[in-house]
């Protein structure tokens, strides 16, 4: 009687125990996975390394011929890097102070020009003609190995 009862108890218990262990093991593994996958990903450095992006690689040395300019992305805003005829690099915010259009370098004018309303800025960023009311914000340019690094100051 007693042994029969034991038998009856153990018969369904074995697969049940297996099921419980499977559930427990699977649940544990997947839960640990879903905890550690985010953590490991979090630790891996993101594409942009710094929170406050004060500098950016605007171009490579040699990328820009003399008397030419290039628009680069500085955060969510455009910047303009110019290789002047005197073999100097200057950089400014490329946002026109008139209505926020993106300015460009005109190699024929040898200065910065905004196509929207014909605003002109000289190579110090100063507004010299047209509607822009203020100079362009100017950036610092450094050459680090092969990179031309533009830094926002202040």
């Amino acid at each position: 009687m007693n042994s029969a009862q034991n038998q009856a108890q153990e018969q369904p218990t074995l697969p049940r125990r297996k099921f419980v262990n499977l559930l427990l093991g699977g649940g544990l593994l997947t839960t640990i996975g879903s905890i550690f996958v985010p953590i490991i990903n979090f630790i891996i450095p993101p594409k942009i390394q710094e929170a406050v992006q004060n500098s950016v690689v605007a171009a490579k040395v040699g990328e820009l011929p003399l008397n030419s300019g290039k628009i680069f992305r500085f955060g969510v805003k455009p910047g303009i890097l110019i290789h002047t005829q005197n073999d100097e690099y200057v950089a400014f915010s490329a946002i026109c102070t008139h209505l926020d259009c993106t300015v460009q370098y005109r190699s024929d004018f040898k200065h910065i020009w905004c196509a929207c309303h014909n605003g002109h800025f000289d190579l110090t960023g100063k507004n010299i003609a047209g509607p822009p009311p203020r100079p362009l914000e100017s950036y610092k340019v450094d050459i680090r190995n092969e990179d031309i690094v533009v830094t926002r100051e202040g």
């Binding site: 559930l23 427990l24 997947t30 992305r73 993106t102």
Partner: protein
């Protein structure tokens, strides 16, 4: 000392006042005009007081350089000697003679060059062509002469912010006469220009923001040659600053049509003194449209206007949709800098398309708007992708919650099992 004497002698020669070749140093020091006029006080002293900050006095000129006479004489009280016409004394010039009076020096390039190599010397000839000058020649003394705008004793350089002809002060200076309905009643021209100007986009920029890139009265009308611009030349005048717009206008079919009809180019649509910031509703076939003032419904011009407006509105709404979607994604903590960058360029295209309206060509405006549409669409796609990513995150979390629940279920069953193995005991703590 020697230097001052040198300059003064030049001045004296330049003024054609060689008749009294005094020792310059003495002329500088001893000036009977000043001493007597100060002594007499009241209105007779006013010119002396005023001259303290006068640009002429600062350049070393004195009373006699304009008014003639002999300031070295009369120190003993002999007024007649000082004001001797033989010594070139002219006293106070007649109103009608004032332009010529100032022009003795100001129209002489040789003379003016000494003080400022770039000094203009065309003021008198320009004045003669002005409405003011022409009326003066006809004997109308109510019109402005040099001193009405520049002042008399106490004239300041136009670059001096305290000057009555400093850009920020010009509207008030012109308004002294032109806004005075009583004074202007004989001239049958409106007197509300200053009032209108103050409400205009230019007036607000100049007077409220102090933005000197904005035009004052003289920037459109000229100063010494002040005159209303003629109808067919307005676009040249506005084009001084609004170059793109005027160029597009000149190449547009409107130019010939306006000139033929004698319409004042830019002014036809934008107005003059009270010019406001233009809005998109000025274009197209809507109730606020200016196009419909001339173009009848269904005519080709009307159709073009409606089509141009549609292009702009389409771009605007596309940018709006993309912008709000991207903003939503950003608030949710998604990375949308590329999309925001593209939206900035799309805004650029919108601004360009508004300029392109002046070409009055549907084709050209479409060129610009379609570029903007492409950018806005790409930003929209990026925004959608970011939001999809957000949904994906939620799905990811939902999956991990399922894992957690599986674990919880496993634990629960294990607890049941364990409870059987290690049964709950009945115990009593005899405390």
């Amino acid at each position: 000392m020697k230097k001052i004497g040198y300059i003064l002698s030049f001045i004296l020669i330049g003024c054609g006042a060689t008749a009294f070749a005094q020792e310059p140093a003495r002329a500088e020091k001893v000036n009977s005009c000043v001493s007597c006029h100060l002594e007499m006080g009241d209105e007779l002293a006013v010119p002396v007081e005023g001259m303290k900050e006068d640009v002429h006095a600062q350049q070393g000129l004195s009373c006699a350089d304009c008014h003639g006479g002999d300031p070295t004489a009369g120190l003993d009280g002999d007024m007649e000697a000082a004001k001797n016409p033989a010594k070139g004394f002219v006293g106070k010039p007649e109103r009608t003679a004032i332009p010529q009076f100032c022009a003795r020096c100001h129209s002489d390039p040789n003379y003016m060059r000494r003080f400022n190599p770039r000094a203009a010397t065309d003021q008198l000839s320009a004045y003669k062509t002005s409405v003011h000058g022409q009326l003066l020649q006809k004997g109308d003394t109510k019109v402005a002469v040099c001193t009405d705008c520049h002042g008399v004793h106490g004239i300041r350089n136009a670059k001096d912010a305290r000057s009555s002809v400093y850009p920020l002060n010009i509207p008030a200076t012109c308004g002294r006469c032109h806004a005075d309905a009583e004074y202007m009643k004989d001239y049958s021209i409106p007197t509300d220009q200053i009032e209108q100007y103050q409400t205009s986009v230019h007036g607000k920029a100049l007077l409220e923001k102090g933005d000197q890139a904005a035009p004052a009265c003289n920037d459109c009308h000229g100063n010494h040659g002040a005159t209303p611009p003629g109808a067919p030349t307005i676009a040249f005048i506005c084009g001084q600053c609004h170059l793109n717009n005027s160029e597009l206008f000149f190449a547009s079919p409107h130019r010939a049509a306006f000139d033929e009809m004698g319409l004042p180019e830019c002014e036809t649509c934008h107005g003059n003194h009270g010019i406001q910031h233009p809005t998109d509703s000025m274009l197209g076939a809507g109730p606020e449209s200016i196009c419909t003032d001339c173009h009848e419904e269904g005519s080709p011009g009307w159709l073009t206007a409606a089509a141009m407006r549609e292009q702009i509105e389409n771009l605007k709404s596309q940018i709006f949709v993309a912008d709000s979607l991207v903003a939503k994604a950003e608030r949710a903590g998604m990375e949308v800098s590329e999309a925001k960058f593209q939206l900035h360029d799309a805004d650029d295209a919108l601004i360009k398309s508004r300029t392109m309206v002046h070409s009055l060509s549907e084709e050209r405006i479409t060129e610009v708007t379609s570029e903007g549409m492409k950018l806005a669409e790409s930003a929209l796609t990026a925004g959608r992708a970011a939001l999809a990513e957000l949904q994906f995150r939620r799905k990811g979390l939902a999956i991990s919650i399922i894992f957690i629940l599986i674990l919880a279920a496993g634990l629960y069953l294990k607890i049941k099992e364990v409870d059987q193995k290690h049964p709950i005991r009945s115990a009593q703590r005899g405390e």
